[in-house]
């Protein structure tokens, strides 16, 4: 079996003790990195060394490590979720980097995403938006038959595309204005496209947009960076749909 390629990289990592403290960059050498490691595994190895040296390990968000939970995320060399297209940070592998490269790692930065520690950010602002309308109010009881409510194929496809949003916050991180429009657009669309979502459609978009505004996210200026950064390739059509739905409401 061929031997795995090994590289050495230098990490410039944002270290911040807590939300109140001022952060700074620290430089670490990551030596003998197997290129088949995931980016987060590389950080695990660096952390092991830090712990052995009696230092505080780099805090970063992670959970499923297979790109479906939306927990991980950081700005890597200026890209949300790193340089690869349509993946979360946990799906980035070290083969995407060159030997001897310096990798700058920063947290997702937004007023609505305060830093908890190092690269870990508080994204509960998104949860509060979901709480305002990311659901359908129904009477409970037996599950209805799957074909009880007919859904058009096109609507179902678009709703599924919107529902692919894992709520990682990369759209906010990549937006020059830290706007959450793509996230909210996806959540509004995913319900608003389906027949089950119709009764609360107006109220939902209004409430979710109000909450988005009050959380201190910026305004969309149609730079479409969100769509390009999204690990699930959510289309800015969802923002257009949200804007259309707002047009049916008051203000």
């Amino acid at each position: 079996m061929a031997k795995d390629k090994i590289i050495n990289v230098t990490l410039k990592v944002w270290r911040q003790k807590n939300a109140e403290s001022k952060g700074h960059f620290e430089t670490y050498d990551a030596k003998d990195v197997n290129v088949n490691m995931s980016f987060l595994e590389m950080l695990d190895v660096v952390n092991e060394d830090l712990i052995l040296a009696g230092k505080s390990p780099i805090a970063f968000d992670h959970d499923c490590r297979e790109g479906i939970c939306g927990t991980c995320g950081a700005m890597v060399n200026g890209y949300a979720h790193g340089p690869d297209k349509a993946v979360t940070l946990c799906q980035v592998h070290m083969r995407s980097f060159k030997n001897g490269e310096t990798i700058v790692i920063e947290p997702f930065r937004a007023k609505a995403f305060p830093v908890i520690k190092d690269l870990a950010v508080d994204r509960r602002s998104m949860d509060r938006i979901i709480a305002k309308g990311g659901y359908i109010s129904v009477k409970t009881g037996n599950a209805p038959d799957a074909h009880a409510t007919p859904v058009q194929k096109k609507a179902s496809d678009l709703a599924m595309d919107a529902a692919a949003c894992v709520g990682c916050g990369a759209c906010v991180a990549a937006c020059p204005n830290a706007s959450a429009s793509l996230f909210v657009g996806a959540k509004v669309s995913h319900m608003g496209l389906l027949p089950q979502g119709q009764p609360e459609r107006k109220q939902r978009v209004q409430n979710m947009v109000w909450q988005m505004d009050s959380e201190g996210f910026g305004n969309c200026s149609n730079a479409y960076q969100c769509e390009a950064a999204c690990p699930k390739e959510i289309s800015v059509d969802n923002i257009a749909r949200m804007n259309r739905d707002i047009n049916r409401c008051g203000n």
Partner: protein
Amino acid sequence: MKLSSIRKKQIVAVSGLAMVGFLLAHLSGNLLLFKGPEAYNAYADFLHSLGPILWVLRLGLIGAVLLHIIFTVLIVKENRQARKDRYAVVQDHRNERSLAVKLMPYTGFVILAYIIIHLLDFTFADKTTIINGVDYGLYGLVITTLRNPLHAAAYIIAMFSIGFHLSHAFQSVVQTFGLSSEKSRPKLMLASLVFGLGVALAYSSIPLYVVATFR
């Protein structure tokens, strides 16, 4: 009344569209310059003869300019607040993130500065231009002003700022009202660019013509 972020953007969009309407009307008038002094001055006289209607249009335009600026300032202030801690390194996530988007505030400022210069040059200036004993009126004023290469250059720079501004703005308006789709967006972006450049070139033809013809 509190307005949602989307509504605020739509106010910027509509006031911008109103200004684009003015820009096209103004351009159609300006191009009469190529027909000669009579046609050009007659058009200016016609506009002035409108009396109160002209003032309604003027007030509407001033209103649009003010709304556009006020709401843009509000939005930009919020955007700055939304990311107080800047990234040390940030990349464009797509190559198409055009220069136009990044330059929107700067092109906006250039346009505003030029509106002031333009009003001083033409609107508030004395419009009697006697050349060889003949009063060429506004036509003469335009020719004598734009013959100066500095004025001509300022004019062209301002027009390309407008063109650049529009190349992002036009498709942005459609998206802000939710009327664009994945299919139409690339075409809209291209149309926006062509429209912006078209406006810039059409306007710039005037100072270029003046500088080339009346040396």
